[in-house]
């Protein structure tokens, strides 16, 4: 891009606490795409857990906090389709009764992107720095896929890596059973859905299962490891694309 765009980076609460290197990997990719990255220091959570549990009040406060921290940027980018969907689709709905605020949230929503969607459709990243070598299959996380139309973007980016071979598994777009608190509240059901996913991954016979949402990846990894599969790598798309695949 000719003028450096200012990107506000929201790491998401899950990446922040569970897999910080995914955050650094995403930043490396955004910088490779020529963006100036700002990470607001007081960021926490987008509010989706409360929102999806029916707790509107604190969600509204979190949305307002998010707005105050990210409104100033040209774009907001997140390494998660689920959290990006929350901001793009659901934040504006929360403020239906307040036209002025809703307008601001709608404007924010239009500038908010899931990482691969941003890299492909806005930043038009040409050279992907990663050096992953091996076979992989891609799990399409639900919110990214159905709320943001993220399907081709990660595949297009992965195709730029000469050492990567993608084998599509069957039902790649079927839910892995994570669903936030669903995974604990309805453990057996969630586990069965994860098991179905793991069987499709096994049938694809790949070195790595890759996805764009850490929640799904932890769910899949948890089931793979419990059933004795310690070899299939479970990777976030940012790790594969950036070449940053370890916590440092």
């Amino acid at each position: 891009m000719e003028n450096k765009v200012r990107v506000g980076f929201f790491v998401t609460c899950l990446v922040d606490s569970m897999r910080p290197h995914i955050g650094f990997a995403a930043i490396r990719l955004l910088e490779a795409a020529g963006c100036e990255i700002v990470v607001p220091a007081q960021q926490t959570c987008c509010g989706q857990p409360g929102y999806n549990s029916g707790e509107r009040k604190s969600t509204v406060s979190m949305a307002l906090k998010f707005l105050s921290e990210f409104e100033e940027f040209d774009y907001v980018v997140l390494p998660s389709g689920s959290c990006a969907g929350m901001i793009r689709v659901h934040y504006p709905e929360l403020f239906r009764g307040d036209p002025e605020l809703q307008q601001r949230f709608t404007s924010l929503a239009k500038r908010t992107y899931e990482l691969t969607d941003f890299l492909v459709n806005v930043a038009k990243l040409e050279n992907v720095p990663g050096n992953f070598k091996g076979t992989l299959t891609y799990h399409d996380s639900c919110s990214g896929l159905r709320e943001l139309d993220v399907y081709n973007q990660p595949r297009a980016l992965l195709a730029k890596l000469p050492g990567v071979k993608i084998y599509e598994m069957v039902e790649s777009t079927t839910c892995c059973g994570f669903g936030g608190t669903f995974s604990v509240k309805y453990g057996e059901l969630s586990t069965r859905m994860a098991e179905n996913k793991c069987q499709h991954i096994a049938a694809a016979g790949v070195d790595a299962i890759v996805g764009g949402d850490l929640g799904c990846l932890l769910n899949i990894e948890g089931r793979l490891r419990r059933t004795g599969d310690h070899s299939t790598q479970v990777l976030h798309i940012a790790e594969v694309l950036s070449g940053l695949d370890k916590d440092k």
């Binding site: 606490s17 490891r225 419990r226």
Partner: protein
């Protein structure tokens, strides 16, 4: 029908362990998901057609009382008798009274989920009327004393062998194994029932306001026999089924069979207008139409009104990964899957269906295929919000959400809490970085390991890096 949704969690575990059921459910994918996918693309402007279909339904729902009156006027003008039933009990009473009025001893039924909602068969049997289901799936379930587990394919939970055993036992005939043989056997038993029945009972897929017609969409042909052979025909359906014109219904008919069974068109589409009179040679002498409310009108004008767009195709359940793994009975009432998880709490009580709005990952597969674009996950979320407002959520959940909400709004304390939390969990993860049990989250760790965090938060690492 009694709502047993309170037992959902226990039923889920039973259904997950039921190998016969799991085998039967595995056919959903090929039969319905791939079936729909193969024909839905025949509609060249699918998104526009779905939008148009939703608009037709909304147009009626926004002005439901006047469309119902238009329908009633036209139906009466063509010789039908229209009854209004506020509750399931009212509907049962009306059917029983019609039966008494016409000296009905036996009735044949084509498929009707509204009659399941009312528990009509039991009410009629109680009044001494012999009722026979004639849709093959419903007939099988009547023999087995079971409820439908799917709104379009009621017997989808059973495999062929179970049906062979059931027929051999109930019909007292040699055990058949071929599908054609089994169908023939049922047909031979059903045919005299059609010919001898005093009353036919059907549902309605749509009510056409401009003509006063009842439209039914079927595949087996039993619907035509039920609605035309007996002296009396009673059609029972929900008040939301009205569409303005025949033209409108053609739009919905392009979507319904494709979404439901992966058929471009069903074998039969019957438009039933009025009774047999001097001009008509066939049809029932008496045509009664019962319009059931049973809580539907309370949704008009509210945040759940979009649910009434539903045209009962079943695509949401066919594509639902929860339904695909547990089948329909676990939901505990008449309507299963995503649409049922909304309708059951709305029509049968939110308090008695605490799990249904929550047993969804919000994956959105249902809304993506809904022919009338019902935002099913949004409606489920509305119900969760209601549960929260009405104090129907567990104390533990409310407390956790409060703590989380407070923490996220206090970034410094949040930072400290996560910093400590990830260090403890990382230590607990040991060499393999996996937790085999996690207090408070055994729902997760009973079937999965919990991958341990790496030990530091992104925010602390980033701050260190940028202050270097």
């Amino acid at each position: 029908m009694q709502n047993k949704a309170i037992d959902f969690k226990r039923q889920v575990n039973i259904k997950l362990a039921d190998t016969k059921l799991q085998d039967a459910l595995s056919r959903l994918q090929t039969r319905f998901v791939e079936g729909r996918s193969a024909v839905i693309s025949e509609i060249h402007h699918l998104e526009d057609t779905r939008t148009a279909a939703a608009a037709i339904r909304d147009c009626v729902l926004n002005d439901l009382d006047s469309w119902l009156q238009k329908f009633e006027q036209q139906a009466i003008a063509h010789g039908a008798i229209v009854h209004w039933a506020e509750t399931a009990t009212d509907a049962n009473r009306i059917v029983t009274e019609i039966a008494a009025q016409h000296n009905v001893l036996t009735a044949v039924k084509s498929k009707s989920m509204v009659s399941e909602e009312c528990g009509l068969n039991d009410a009629l049997e109680h009044a001494g009327i012999k009722v026979m289901e004639t849709d093959l799936g419903e007939y099988i379930l009547q023999l087995a004393h079971e409820a439908p587990s799917h709104i379009v394919a009621p017997v989808v939970h059973k495999n062929k062998e179970e049906i062979s055993d059931l027929f051999a036992e109930k019909h007292q005939m040699s055990r058949k194994t071929g599908i054609a043989e089994l169908c023939l056997e049922a047909r031979e038993i059903l045919r005299p029932a059609f010919l001898n029945a005093d009353m036919g009972i059907s549902g309605a897929n749509f009510l056409i306001a401009e003509t006063g017609s009842v439209l039914i969409v079927t595949n087996e042909g039993n619907g035509r026999l039920v609605t035309t052979l007996p002296r009396v025909h009673v059609a029972i359906t929900g008040i939301e089924k009205v569409v303005p014109t025949l033209e409108d219904v053609t739009t919905l008919l392009r979507l319904l069979p494709r979404s439901a069974t992966g058929q471009s068109i069903t074998n039969y589409v019957s438009v039933l207008t009025g009774n047999k009179d001097a001009k008509a040679h066939d049809g029932p002498e008496h045509f009664h139409i019962i319009l059931l409310d049973n809580g539907r009108s309370s949704l008009i004008g509210g945040e759940m009104q979009e649910m009434l767009r539903c045209i009962r195709c079943g695509a949401c359940m066919n594509h639902c990964p929860v339904y695909q793994n547990i089948g329909g009975h676990a939901y505990g009432w008449v309507y299963p899957g995503p649409m049922g998880s909304i309708l059951t709490p709305l029509l049968s009580g939110l308090k008695s269906s605490p799990d249904l709005p929550n047993a969804s990952t919000f994956c959105g597969a249902c809304a993506a295929v809904c022919p009338v674009k019902i935002p099913l996950p949004d409606l489920l979320r509305n119900l969760r919000t209601r549960q929260m407002a009405l104090g129907l959520k567990s104390r533990q959940e409310v407390l956790m959400l409060k703590v989380w909400g407070w923490l996220t709004l206090h970034p410094r304390i949040y930072a400290l809490a996560t910093k400590i939390g990830v260090r403890i969990l990382a230590m607990m993860g040991g060499e393999r970085h996996l937790l085999h049990t996690l207090p408070g989250a055994t729902g997760w760790t009973d079937g999965r390991d919990f991958p341990a965090p790496s030990g530091k938060t992104f925010r602390e690492m980033y701050r260190k890096k940028s202050t270097k």
